[in-house]
């Protein structure tokens, strides 16, 4: 595990080929720059060797222009490149990911203001603040990257190039990504100081969201007039125990399925490989995480079969659903019988398209 088929589905084709997606992203932003009169991010491609942040910032500016205005966002991000420790991702030698210390650089205040405003809009602003990155953090993040390279090298090479910086947060939320701060993964200090496989899981999880963001930009994932606000929604059965049960729109369901199926591959590989001294966790923990990923991935993919949800997708969304379903089926077939026999299943409940 992973088998060659799983690797093929996860890394090639219209919905998974990282090189094609990144190239199409560049095509999109170059065209958008010409249409809007803003600077083309590609002009900085060579100048920004080793640090892709200025290029990312130009893409941010274009995102905002294409979104049709400021919509309550106070200002364009004006921060520029600054010193940081670059972590070479062995799985993708052309990709450097930077552990950012936003507390101790001149751009930190501007960034933090934007970051906090984005978080506040989601109602979690007060629960997350950038934390000082220590040399120990950097070692731990490097170790997690190397573990990804060891366990799922092809998948890591196909996902990590979508991320350019890692920010450590002082937060109870284990990890997160923000569409307003693209190509960036946020992990909590607790996650960084937890087991290596847990940190690798968080980095892969959030990087997959960044890959999905490019998929949504450059592929026909959803039907032409789809909006998150008006989409059919699916109740997450594992959230029934939460204070507020969670409903996911169709776009979010496929994003979550994309994450869980890949995490299932990671944990299935880790379970088979063993090496608790490298993963930092015992087999029971790996088994529990694998079970969660397989159960939730299976539920989400199943819920995408519902007519009311399925019709929200465009042709590439349907291809992605098919590829993820195939991946999970092959993965389940390779799991230990004792684990498969105890998997929980749920019946999907959907709420049809919301009309306002």
């Amino acid at each position: 595990m992973p088998t060659s088929d799983v690797i093929t589905w996860a890394t090639t084709g219209v919905v998974a080929d990282a090189a094609a997606l990144l190239s199409d992203r560049d095509v999109l932003y170059s065209g958008a720059a010409r249409a809007t009169g803003l600077d083309d991010p590609l002009e900085l491609r060579l100048a920004a060797e080793g640090d892709r942040i200025p290029v990312c910032l130009r893409r941010c500016a274009l995102d905002r222009q294409l979104a049709g205005a400021e919509q309550g966002i106070p200002a364009l991000r004006k921060w520029t490149a600054y010193g940081s420790t670059a972590l070479r991702v062995q799985a993708a030698p052309e990709c450097w990911i930077h552990a950012r210390d936003w507390i101790h650089d001149s751009a930190g205040a501007e960034f933090e203001r934007l970051f906090v405003s984005a978080m506040a809009r989601q109602g979690i602003g007060e629960h997350a603040r950038p934390s000082q990155v220590t040399p120990d953090d950097e070692i731990r993040i490097s170790r997690a990257m190397l573990l990804l390279d060891e366990l799922v090298p092809e998948i890591a090479a196909s996902v990590l190039p979508f991320v350019h910086q890692i920010v450590v947060l002082d937060s109870p939320i284990p990890s997160l990504y923000l569409t307003q701060v693209p190509e960036t993964v946020f992990v909590s200090a607790a996650t960084v100081h937890g087991d290596t496989l847990g940190l690798a899981d968080a980095l892969l999880h959030e990087s997959l969201h960044e890959k999905m963001a490019v998929l949504r930009l450059t592929r026909r994932l959803m039907r032409p007039v789809y909006t998150d606000e008006h989409s059919a929604r699916v109740l997450l059965p594992w959230s029934l125990a939460y204070a507020t049960p969670r409903w996911f729109n169709a776009g979010r369901v496929i994003c979550a399925a994309h994450v869980y199926v890949h995490l299932a591959v990671l944990h299935a590989t880790a379970l088979r490989a063993g090496h608790p001294e490298r993963t930092g966790c015992d087999p029971q923990t790996v088994r529990r995480r694998l079970t969660t990923a397989v159960e939730r991935g299976g539920f989400l993919l199943g819920s995408l079969e519902l007519d009311s949800v399925r019709r929200e997708f465009g042709p590439d969304g349907l291809v992605l659903h098919r590829e993820l379903t195939r991946m999970l089926a092959v993965l389940r077939d390779a799991l230990p019988a004792g684990l498969v026999g105890n998997l929980q299943t749920w019946q999907a409940t959907s709420q049809p398209e919301v009309h306002t």
Partner: protein, 108 residues
């Protein structure tokens, strides 16, 4: 085919064969379209209209004229719906003229 192009149309091919991104400037918009729609927009750009446009499209797509006309009507409606084409007001019917070429007064 009574349409005109939206402003600032430009195209960029994607890595997927036959798919393009199309950009307009007023308003700024990005959409994904297929090669047939790009061809239609380019024919509009070249100034072709009416039967000439249909004939050229049919020739380039290797279709018969009837099929081409049906396909173009469908594509044009979709492109107009997406804001890439603007529908022009239908031309006024020719006014009746007297034998001397003087417009005939229309009754209210």
């Amino acid at each position: 085919m009574n349409y005109k192009l939206a402003e600032g149309i430009q195209y960029r091919p994607l890595s997927i064969r036959g798919r393009f991104l199309v950009f307009t400037t007023t308003p700024v918009r990005v959409l994904q379209i297929d090669a047939g729609s790009v061809l239609l927009l380019k024919l509009f750009e070249s100034g072709l209209i009416g039967d000439e446009l249909v004939a050229r499209y049919a020739q380039l797509r290797k279709k018969d004229v009837l099929d081409a006309r049906r396909e173009l009507a469908h594509r044009a409606r979709d492109l107009a719906g997406a804001g890439l084409l603007e529908e022009l007001p239908a031309p006024a019917p020719p006014r009746a003229l007297s034998r001397q070429g003087i417009p005939v007064r229309e009754e209210a």
